[in-house]
């Protein structure tokens, strides 16, 4: 039950936000949680490394079970709490339509990893690359790669008239990918250049699970405008 779960998380981190959304969608409010700060280095504290030896967030425990990989935690929650809350992945056995839908959800979920990596490479460039190794040409290339990626997703949303990533209903694909889309707009992505992504962002912003888990630090501080020229 929710009381047996603990999540260590940081505000604005897409992997953490995915798990927060999944918990809400599965009606698991009431889980234990601790908000930590990357800036203060709290992800490397003993409290976290005892659960996640990688010293990364999220760190997630359910009884004796530990799943720190956000995709793993989301899959696990959907599977264990299949019959409560929103059905995030339809049942396998069933119509062929379900099969097609599951395949699309899976495909978009895992492509979400590529999207997240490309976003992170731009946001974290100065953090990851020591000053003497930085090159304008490298940073430019990362931004161009991200632009190409965003155009793909803009295209995906043109083909799903339901407004969600995998058709007519909210699914695991949205749990995984929405946080990455949100961080793009929080950090200045142009709504004019990416109208479909913008529509998706605004549509999902008001979904209860997303509203309830909106990064607290975003409410106080506007994001840096890193993506305005993408």
């Amino acid at each position: 039950m929710a009381k047996d779960m603990t999540l260590w998380w940081a505000s604005g981190s897409p992997p953490c936000w995915r798990v927060l959304i999944a918990l809400e969608e599965k009606n698991l409010q009431g889980y234990n949680q601790k908000l930590l700060s990357f800036q203060k280095g709290e992800h490397k504290s003993k409290e976290v490394t005892d659960v996640n030896p990688r010293g990364q967030l999220p760190a997630f425990k359910y009884g004796d079970i530990v799943i720190n990989e956000s995709y793993g935690a989301c899959f696990f929650l959907e599977s264990k709490f299949k019959s409560q809350g929103t059905k995030l992945i339809p049942d396998c056995a069933g119509s062929d339509n379900n099969c097609a839908l599951i395949a699309l959800i899976m495909q978009r979920m895992f492509e979400g990893n590529t999207l997240h990596q490309k976003i992170a490479e731009v946001i974290m460039y100065n953090w990851r690359v020591p000053e003497n190794e930085r090159h304008e040409s490298a940073f430019k290339r990362l931004k161009e790669t991200l632009t190409g990626e965003l155009q793909l997703w803009e295209g995906y949303l043109q083909k799903t008239p339901g407004g969600f990533l995998a058709g007519e209903n909210f699914s695991m694909a949205d749990v995984i990918v929405f946080p990455s889309v949100a961080i793009l707009f929080h950090m200045g992505l142009s709504e004019d250049k990416y109208p479909k992504l913008s529509e998706y962002y605004k549509k999902l912003q008001v979904r209860p699970s997303i509203k309830a888990t909106w990064p607290p630090t975003w409410q106080e501080t506007p994001g840096q405008e890193i993506f305005k020229d993408i």
């Binding site: 599951i102 699309l104 899976m106 895992f110 690359v129 190794e133 040409s137």
Partner: protein, 223 residues
């Protein structure tokens, strides 16, 4: 049915290899397949782009459904063909949780391996730095120590006592490291895992053909 399945793949690509292992484990031999060559740019051919607009391999179709992300394909195959072949995701909760954890941790292993192995491919000459190469190697070393640790109490599989989805996803990444010269002395548990599964039918059947006669590379021998 295997005949509804199409896989376009390249030898040695661990993403492709995962899907091939999964197909074997689920007794789906007889699927349509075509070996392509990155060196010839065949991953950008029209045939691939029709299935995978990203121009990447694997390009995989189950009926009309494209599933080009290798993990998505593997999960889908396990789900759809649950009742045939090897059970890749057990019913027991703890086993399932640990499999999910390890499956997704492979991203970190694959990424850190690629940073070392493909450094010159990814980074134009004017942007290369010895300090970056050194840092990438240190990151890979730390990552390998983690996996060596995960295998300490192993009965030959990444998780538990049976071959699982975690092995489907992890084994190709580990094999790739040894193919590139990783030291068996420095990583005895990883080496034991690598050798232990080499002759498993699904792995033997899908072993990268270009590795069979080629000498091992030595890129990782000092890691």
């Amino acid at each position: 049915m295997a005949t509804d399945i199409t896989l376009l793949w390249a030898s040695g690509s661990h993403a492709c290899w995962r899907v091939m292992i999964a197909l074997e484990e689920k007794n789906l031999q007889g699927y349509n397949q075509k070996q392509l060559y990155f060196e010839k740019g065949e991953h950008k051919s029209k045939e691939v782009l029709e299935i995978n607009p990203r121009g990447q391999l694997p390009a995989f179709k189950c009926g009309d459904l494209p599933l080009n992300e290798s993990c998505a394909a593997c999960f889908h195959l396990e789900c759809k063909y649950k009742s045939q072949g090897t059970k890749l995701i057990p019913d027991c909760e703890e086993g399932r949780a640990l499999i999910l954890q390890r499956v997704f941790e492979v991203n970190a292993l694959a990424e850190k391996s690629s940073s070392v192995l493909y450094y010159n491919w990814r980074v134009p000459e004017g942007e290369r730095h010895d300090s970056a190469v050194k840092r990438n190697k240190e990151a890979l070393t730390a990552e390998l120590k983690l996996w060596e640790g995960y295998l300490q109490a192993s009965s030959g599989f990444i998780v538990g006592k049976n071959f699982s989805l975690a092995d489907v996803i992890v084994y190709p990444a580990v094999a790739y490291l040894f193919q590139n010269g990783l030291s068996e002395q420095r990583y005895p548990k990883l080496a034991e895992y690598y050798k232990g599964l080499m002759n498993r039918p699904s792995i033997k059947a899908s072993w990268p053909p270009t590795w069979k006669n080629a000498p091992k590379q030595e890129t990782l021998k000092d890691i």
